[in-house]
């Protein structure tokens, strides 16, 4: 018997394959390794950030700050690299520490002040972007041979596609994320919080530690996504990544997670991210849509995916009985 908890995940995967097939049917070129490689590289930062968002959403929370944290990270790295002679790796470490602590503080506020995550992370969103502005309003280019090195190292697929460092990094992050979420005590605790904080407390789940941990992870991964973004663009820009949090939330939910928490899969998020990427790619391949039709079509496709998912789940549950 198929385990019902995996149904949403399976449904999402099926839909992705189906959608890809449809795209392929319309634009045969969609199946080239180039497009596949691009799908990974182009969505790397979103994917990494979405892993963090998945943890947050699984626990029943939400993190609106990730887009801003990505922008902050980019600006911070760019400015530090410009002003000092530190090696990028050192700067990366530094910025990851900062963003993890930033997330942890938000977690602590959420837990100890008992304030809704939505508002706390909204303040975090303003703050992170605000700090990015103060560091530099200009967009700052990064020119460092280490960056060029990273950008030039990729695995070339037959057919000209590339698996870049950042694309691979995203896959690694997903892998680690899956293990943490589904294979560690911390992961179970995250799910527990999503099932209900009062109950978790009575069951002896370390709520404070877990909450702070979750937001620290989300901050950390947003920082990592920021690094990825900075590698992707070789620059830091305080207006970058506006609204990424919404894309990440959409990816997580399309991936089968419940926004109320307690149910979902990291792997589903990966598919969610790829679906979002696919929609973008499809629209660009089409290339005839005006600005407004682009928006409308994105909305329609989003709706279609969700409908298909619902339909598939319904069909599966009807059949199972």
């Amino acid at each position: 018997m198929m385990k019902s908890r995996y149904l949403p995940l399976i449904a999402t995967c099926l839909i992705f394959v189906l959608a890809y097939a449809l795209c392929y049917w319309q634009f045969p070129f969609m199946l080239s390794t180039r497009v596949v490689g691009n799908l990974l590289t182009d969505n790397a930062f979103l994917g990494i950030a979405a892993v963090g968002m998945t943890f947050v959403i699984l626990s029943g929370g939400i993190d609106l700050s990730i887009g801003s944290v990505i922008a902050f990270t980019g600006v911070f790295i760019a400015v530090v690299l410009k002003e000092t002679s530190l090696h990028p790796l050192v700067v990366f470490a530094l910025v990851l520490i900062i963003t993890a602590i930033f997330g942890g503080i938000m977690g602590a506020i959420i837990h100890y002040l008992e304030m809704p995550p939505f508002v706390v992370t909204l303040a975090g969103m303003f703050l992170a972007r605000g700090i990015a502005f103060v560091i530099s309003t200009d967009s700052v280019p990064v020119k460092h041979e280490f960056y060029t090195f990273l950008q030039d190292s990729f695995y070339r697929l037959p057919g000209g596609g590339r698996i870049t460092v950042i694309g691979a990094a995203m896959l690694v992050v997903f892998f680690v994320g899956i293990i943490i979420a589904h294979r560690t005590r911390f992961g179970t605790n995250v799910f527990a919080l999503g099932g209900g904080i009062p109950t978790s407390k009575l069951m002896g789940v370390p709520v404070a530690k877990t909450t702070i941990g979750i937001y620290a992870i989300s901050g950390f991964l947003a920082g990592l996504a920021g690094i990825t973004f900075s590698l992707y663009t070789s620059a830091g820009y305080s207006l970058a990544a506006v609204g990424v949090e919404l894309d990440a939330i959409a990816a997580v939910v399309i991936g089968g997670a419940l926004l109320t928490g307690g149910s979902g899969f990291i792997a589903g998020t990966l598919i969610g991210v790829l679906i979002m990427g696919l929609i973008q790619t499809y629209i660009i391949f089409d290339g005839t849509l005006s600005s407004w039709w682009t928006k409308i079509v994105i909305g329609i496709l989003l709706f279609a995916f969700i409908l298909m998912q619902k339909g598939l789940l319904l069909a599966a549950s009807a059949q199972k009985k």
Binding site: F29, T41, F133, S139, P141, A241, F285, S290, S291
Partner: protein, 291 residues
């Protein structure tokens, strides 16, 4: 392929219309990708253009930095790239040419006009900035300040109004309140016309006359500002032409035909319009361009 920033303003919409129009007129099959104001989407678009094997790429870059690696890929794929309306920080062998105006120059044109207009007198200016951090906001501010250099004209308040009318009105309202009901303000400089149009309404609602009590100068030259100028409510605007595509297509044609390398920078016009121009005629010309 044409990677457009988005459709955040009327000017942008006009640019898109004209580009599509030009392509159609020349019988070019143009793939249009709207990036919804996100650089990441533009990079994605560029990558897909490569994947689809287009013959040339136009980009209106949302931000100056961060294009190196993707443009290298484009170059490897042997596709010429032309930048529209904004330049980038990358080395110039990565693109064929850039058809842009110069934001700093526009700002300084506006600044010089104001210095002339007040004729050596003291003048306190309030400034409506574009979206914080965006290139036009930064450079038009810088250019304007250059234009004012050495004169008695000074900026007393400066706040962002995100390039929008609503914010332009709201911010102007607070400027008026903060500066003694507007008595201390001699001129308004807005980084785009939309904000100026909003601000003009605020000035009117505060019981002052825009255009005479408070001079209004802005940038872009969209049709609505001509209407305001005809009504005497605005004084000057610096044109940022939406027709970046025309010269770009010309350059591209030349290049594709016989490999003529265009200059690296084709500067578009930055004309100043004041009440001395034939406002009605220009308005009629522009009003159907999709602004």
């Amino acid at each position: 392929g044409f990677s457009q920033i988005g459709s955040e303003s009327g000017w942008r919409a006009a640019e898109t219309t004209i580009t599509l129009q030009q392509a159609k007129d020349r019988g070019i099959d143009l793939k249009f990708a709207d990036a919804q104001q996100k650089q990441e989407n533009q990079i994605k678009a560029l990558r897909s253009f490569i994947a689809q094997g287009v013959d040339a790429i136009f980009v209106a870059p949302v931000v100056a930095t961060g294009w190196d690696s993707v443009l290298k890929e484009v170059k490897e794929a042997g596709i010429p790239v032309i930048l529209l309306d904004r330049t980038i920080d990358s080395s110039d062998d990565l693109y064929l040419t850039a058809v842009t105006s110069d934001f700093i120059f526009e700002g300084s044109v506006a600044g010089k006009w104001l210095v002339d207009a007040v004729d050596g007198k003291e003048c306190s200016v309030v400034e409506l900035q574009g979206t914080t951090g965006s290139a036009p906001a930064i450079e038009r501010k810088e250019g304007f300040e250059q234009g004012l250099a050495g004169s008695k004209v000074s900026i007393i308040r400066s706040q962002t109004a995100d390039f929008t009318r609503t914010k332009g009105k709201e911010v102007m309202e607070s400027f008026l309140k903060a500066e003694g009901g507007g008595k201390n303000i001699c001129a308004l400089y807005a980084h785009n016309d939309d904000m100026a149009v909003g601000a003009i309404q605020a000035i009117k609602e505060a019981g002052l006359k825009p255009g005479s009590d408070i001079l209004v100068v802005s940038i872009d030259a969209v049709p609505d500002i001509f209407k305001a100028m005809m009504a005497g409510e605005a004084n000057a605007t610096v044109e940022l032409t939406p027709n970046m595509a025309g010269p770009a297509f010309d350059a591209l044609d030349a290049f594709l035909k016989d490999g003529t390398l265009p200059p690296k920078w084709i500067q578009s016009e930055s004309r100043l319009y004041t009440k001395d121009d034939d406002l009605q005629a220009i308005y009629d010309l522009k009003k159907d361009l999709g602004y």
